[in-house]
């Protein structure tokens, strides 16, 4: 009952987030009635995900057969939930898929493509004017921090490479590497030439 209560709360929160993307629910409707069993190996927990036009239903038990079963350790499932590239996590060796994997891949694609309209949700609570002011301020702060961080990064790299000479500069390193590549290729050519010459001088080969 406790696990069911926990799942109900997670489901409620998850569906509110899904509603922030206007395309997510119509896309989930295509998967209506499909049952995905998630079998966590360590720790051993099983839950069922049933997509529908109202969002996702999470269940601790489901009497109908699952269309697709995903077996994976908890670490992979957390990675799957948080990762931007969900498809690559699904293809990792510790993840096992059984049944119609298309259902799971489609669900993963929907979750991956989520573009959440936080401003709309915020405007329901704060009103449009306050939301505009707040999000405008938040956006300018975010831009300032992004620019500040990029500038700091650039200055630090320049200081370390050009002024203090602690690190080798990128262009200098590239020039040195290309020089080394050239020497390596020259050596390989020389080695090949030596081999050809030695073969032509070998009497057993001429016979």
């Amino acid at each position: 009952m406790l696990f069911s209560g926990l799942l109900a709360s997670v489901e409620h929160g998850l569906n509110r987030v899904l509603r922030l993307d206007s395309t997510a629910l119509p896309r989930l409707q295509h998967l209506n009635g499909k049952v995905i069993a998630v079998d966590c190996r360590s720790p051993s927990v099983q839950l069922f995900v049933i997509p529908g036009d109202e969002g996702l239903t999470l269940a601790a038990h489901w009497a109908a057969d699952a269309d697709c079963t995903l077996r994976a350790p908890a670490s992979s499932l957390v990675r799957l939930a948080l990762s931007q590239d969900k498809t690559s996590v699904l293809h990792s060796p510790e993840v096992e898929l059984e049944g119609d994997s298309g259902v799971l891949l489609e669900l993963a694609a929907i979750l991956q493509d989520l573009e959440l309209d936080w401003e709309y949700e915020l405007s329901r609570w704060l009103g449009p004017v306050a939301t505009q002011l707040f999000s405008g301020h938040l956006r300018s702060r975010a831009r300032w921090y992004r620019q500040g961080f990029a500038s700091l990064n650039q200055n630090l790299a320049e200081y370390l490479a050009e002024e203090s000479r602690t690190l080798v500069g990128q262009r200098e390193a590239e020039a040195r590497f290309s020089e080394l590549d050239r020497v390596k290729l020259d050596l390989e050519r020389l080695e090949a030439r030596f081999e050809r010459l030695s073969r032509s001088l070998d009497p057993s080969d001429n016979a």
């Binding site: 069911s4 209560g5 209506n32 269940a59 038990h61 109908a64």
Partner: protein, 256 residues
Amino acid sequence: MTDQRKGSDAEPTTHFGFKNVPESQKAEKVAEVFHSVAAKYDLMNDVLSGGMHRLWKRFTIELSGVRPGNRVLDIAGGTGDLTRKFSHLVGPTGQVVLADINASMLKVGRDRLLDKGVAGNIEFVQADAEKLPFPDNHFDVVTIAFGLRNVTHKEDALRSMLRVLKPGGRLLVLEFSKPTNALMSKVYDAYSFAFMPLAGKLITNDSESYRYLAESIRMHPNQETLKSMMVEAGFDRVTYHNMTAGIVALHRGIKP
């Protein structure tokens, strides 16, 4: 704990809470109770169960195994909690019938579902669980949540549900039952007979209906008795799951 039916000329009686009333009056009296509480039924459910009724219904849906295209009958569906979820699960190719003997409850349920935009695959039918007006072998799943204890002849209702189910179809009975723990039982008794009528008085200005609720729960068959009643009615593989220490039990039977 079956209904009492006398063999003499006198009209048989049945229980209405702790009282005995003529069988012909029980449905009317139950209807009065639900007519009185219909408007605030959901609020009272949340207050009295602390929101637990949502988890009990959730478990019922999980064990129903409903799939797209299924036909589901929700008897005593009241305000349509189960119907709403079933409607999404069966999709446009399926059908859900919300049946209730009480017109007030059915109206509240229908209005509530329509207000939430749930429509298209739902039918609303005022029907008596003992004489279901549906063809034989018609439904994949039949549910009755917190309704069986109000039915006058439970055996007749179970047989009627068996008739309308397809072979292999499932009946799910969600109902108050007997707590499995002695301490819990004492706490639950105190809660039911002291707090429930008081909350009924404060919220719906009707303490009698909630006294009836507490009494009818005590008069309802316990887990094992209901299981044997389902077996006698003809259900196969009957199992039950106790929830919240047996305060509520979910019985499931399959039509052979």
